[in-house]
């Protein structure tokens, strides 16, 4: 009995010096819910949902504002963007920006990615040859995002369903307009293949 008590005390002392867990990471307690769809630490597992890990804070915050205001109409993200704003968008954005990007498990069609690379010149001007984006130009990083997500966004732009009427996006929509869905899919495969 005495021995057991001693062990218990030793155990307590051991535990109290335990290494910090995920909740000690700033922002985790506000961002943990996102993992249901966006993967743990924002490392998305699926094809149609963006990876948030490593996303620049400026773009994360813009996306949250756009969803909350309905400029990016999304029945799923509108309530959650309001929730993120309630919790504190700065902390959630900083949390995901600090998470290491992991390669998406979604398979890439290499042939499509090759065709996409050949067709990517109009995109590279603003998003960079490496697809890393440029805050000065307001362009987000595309590299390594799941191709299904990238393709859906291009289709939404083309159909004027994402940020309709936004003057700042006139150029990107003009680039996409003449492209057929097959080419958009190739571009999605190409940018999805980068940074893996």
């Amino acid at each position: 009995m005495v021995a057991a008590a001693v062990v218990l005390i030793a155990g307590v002392a051991f535990a109290s010096s335990a290494a910090a867990g995920p909740v000690d990471t700033p922002g985790f307690s506000k961002a943990f819910s996102c993992s249901a769809c966006h993967g743990r630490g924002g490392a998305a597992r699926g094809d149609a949902v963006p990876a948030l890990a490593g996303m620049p804070t400026w773009y994360f915050k813009k996306a949250i504002e756009d969803y909350a205001a309905g400029r990016r109409p999304s029945p799923e993200m509108e309530p959650f963007s309001k929730m993120v704003k309630t919790l504190g968008v700065d902390e959630v954005a900083a949390y995901f920006a600090a998470q290491p990007r992991q390669a998406s498990p979604v398979k890439i069609d290499r042939t499509a990615a090759e065709r996409g690379r050949a067709a990517s010149a109009p995109c590279a001007g603003c998003h960079g040859a490496d697809g890393r984006g440029d805050q000065a130009k307001g362009t987000p990083p595309l590299a390594g995002q799941p191709p299904g997500y990238l393709l859906n966004q291009m289709k939404l732009f083309k159909a004027e369903k994402r940020s309709p009427g936004d003057q700042a996006l006139t150029q990107v929509k003009a680039v996409m307009k003449p492209l057929d869905d097959a080419t958009l899919a190739d571009l999605a495969a190409y940018y999805g293949s980068l940074g893996r």
């Binding site: 057991a4 062990v7 218990l8 155990g11 307590v12 051991f14 535990a15 109290s16 335990a18 290494a19 867990g21 995920p22 909740v23 307690s29 506000k30 943990f32 819910s33 993992s35 249901a36 769809c37 966006h38 993967g39 743990r40 998305a44 597992r45 699926g46 094809d47 149609a48 949902v49 029945p75 799923e76 509108e78 309530p79 959650f80 309001k82 929730m83 309630t86 919790l87 799941p146 299904g148 859906n152």
Partner: protein, 428 residues
């Protein structure tokens, strides 16, 4: 179910025990055979959390306790060797998905996170002694997370208990799901498939209506002369009513009858009787019975005056009725969130963090849950309801609920992305 012997369990635990420098504490004596003296199945050395139930809430909680504080020993008691996802299991009825595609093992919890799995059944909780009883002995805990899911109130439908496997619920994904899919496939071409919806509250509010879509889709494509009759105990479709009713426009073979609670099932006559005395003949029947928190929660008196569901603190998920016992998932009530997989996953994470902080004498952060429910209305299209919450004065309050404007293949893609990520979040 195959059971782990005490010796096997100790063997499986040996690595973790050695790592934490506590070897020897769990190795006294042979397993007693007498039933008179219950034995301590795994004597506790350091801090320990026991989790009852390895479903969406319990498996998530077990994993997140270990992620947050690996010095805490976590023992997960789960009778099933494999995790079978209830979400998406309606797609097995229509043949759109295989049961294998929804079946996962617990290796990730064991190997990646050091959770100790005990494939056994908790038979009782002794809150004062901080013990969980199993058939062969007991386990001592510092904090207990109860996530047993639901049980059926079979006694509310005459003939149901006696019917045994002749009347399937398929409301716990697994063998019954596969069996019901088989009955649907074998049904004669002009047969009548009758399914019944229980009165709220029950697990997965949109689930029965999604099931109606999947059965109707299957019949429409494979047995166009057959018919589906949905007998709903509720006054209307209780989740996404406008969206489901719109989806059903594609299924003229689906007949929906609201306020039709069934009172009796007779497998010999192949007939169900409603509480108004109407008799409906069936070729295949699927009775989803009324539900309550699983037996262990009732036995431990964690349920409220309704004797059905467990009320919890909205921040820590500690039972309002028992100290150091937390309840997550479908067996809870009082939080304005549905009994869904996403909510159970959320609750598992929040309760885990709360338990770790409480065990370490630290304040518990206020973390609201979320909800996302995707429903498949055909083989390719889905729709969703989404709920966002905040915590206000210690209570979960809804910020907003939003429905998809309709059904689409895009939402089906989102549904698949959600499933892939959330299964990973629970088990990997």
């Amino acid at each position: 179910m195959e059971r782990m012997t005490r010796r096997d369990f100790l063997k499986a635990s040996a690595t973790a025990v050695a790592v934490s420098g506590l070897a020897g504490c769990a190795s006294t004596g042979d397993a007693p055979t007498a039933s008179t003296t219950p034995s301590d199945l795994a004597p506790k050395s350091g801090k320990r959390v026991v989790v009852i139930g390895g479903g969406w809430g319990g498996a998530t909680a077990a994993k997140y306790v270990r992620m947050q504080d690996p010095s805490i020993e976590v023992i997960l008691i789960e009778p099933n060797k494999k995790f079978v996802s209830c979400p998406f299991s309606n797609l097995v009825l229509s043949g759109v998905r295989s049961i294998d595609s929804l079946t996962f093992d617990y290796d990730g919890l064991r190997k990646q996170h050091g959770v100790k799995l005990m494939h056994d059944t908790a038979t009782a909780i002794e809150p004062d002694a901080h013990r969980v009883r199993l058939a062969r002995g007991f386990l001592v805990y510092d904090r207990l997370i109860v996530a047993p899911g639901i049980d059926f109130q079979q006694e509310q439908i005459e003939g149901l208990a006696e019917a045994g496997d002749r009347v399937l619920h398929a409301w716990k994904a697994g063998p019954q799901t596969v069996a019901l899919a088989g009955q649907l496939k074998e049904m004669r071409d002009d047969g009548v498939f009758v399914m019944t919806v229980p009165p709220a509250a029950y697990r997965c509010p949109p689930g029965p209506y999604e099931r109606a879509c999947q059965v109707a889709w299957y019949l429409k494509t494979r047995k166009p002369k057959a018919k589906l009759i949905v007998l709903d105990a509720n006054q209307n479709v209780i989740s996404k009513p406008a969206l489901f009713r719109a989806a059903w426009q594609a299924y003229p073979n689906l007949e929906y009858r609201a306020s039709n609670k069934i009172a009796k099932v007779d497998p010999a006559a192949r007939e169900v009787t409603t509480e108004f005395g109407d008799k409906i003949r069936y070729d295949v029947v699927n009775v989803i019975p009324p539900q309550r928190a699983a037996a262990i929660a009732v036995q431990a008196d964690l349920v409220g005056v309704d004797k059905r569901w467990c009320e919890v603190n909205h921040v820590t998920y500690e039972s309002v009725k028992a100290k150091d016992i937390h309840v997550v998932g479908d067996s809870t009530i009082g939080i304005p969130a549905p009994k869904s997989g996403t909510v159970a996953n959320s609750m598992g994470k929040i309760a885990a963090i709360a338990v770790v902080n409480l065990l370490n004498g630290r304040p518990v952060p206020e973390m609201p849950p979320i909800n996302t429910c995707y429903s498949w209305v055909s083989d390719t299209e889905a729709m969703a309801v989404v709920n966002a919450y905040r915590i206000e004065n210690g209570k979960v309050v809804q910020i907003e609920q939003k429905l998809t404007p309709g059904q689409s293949t895009l939402y089906a893609q989102h549904a698949n992305a959600w499933a892939t990520s959330v299964w990973n979040d629970i088990l990997a």
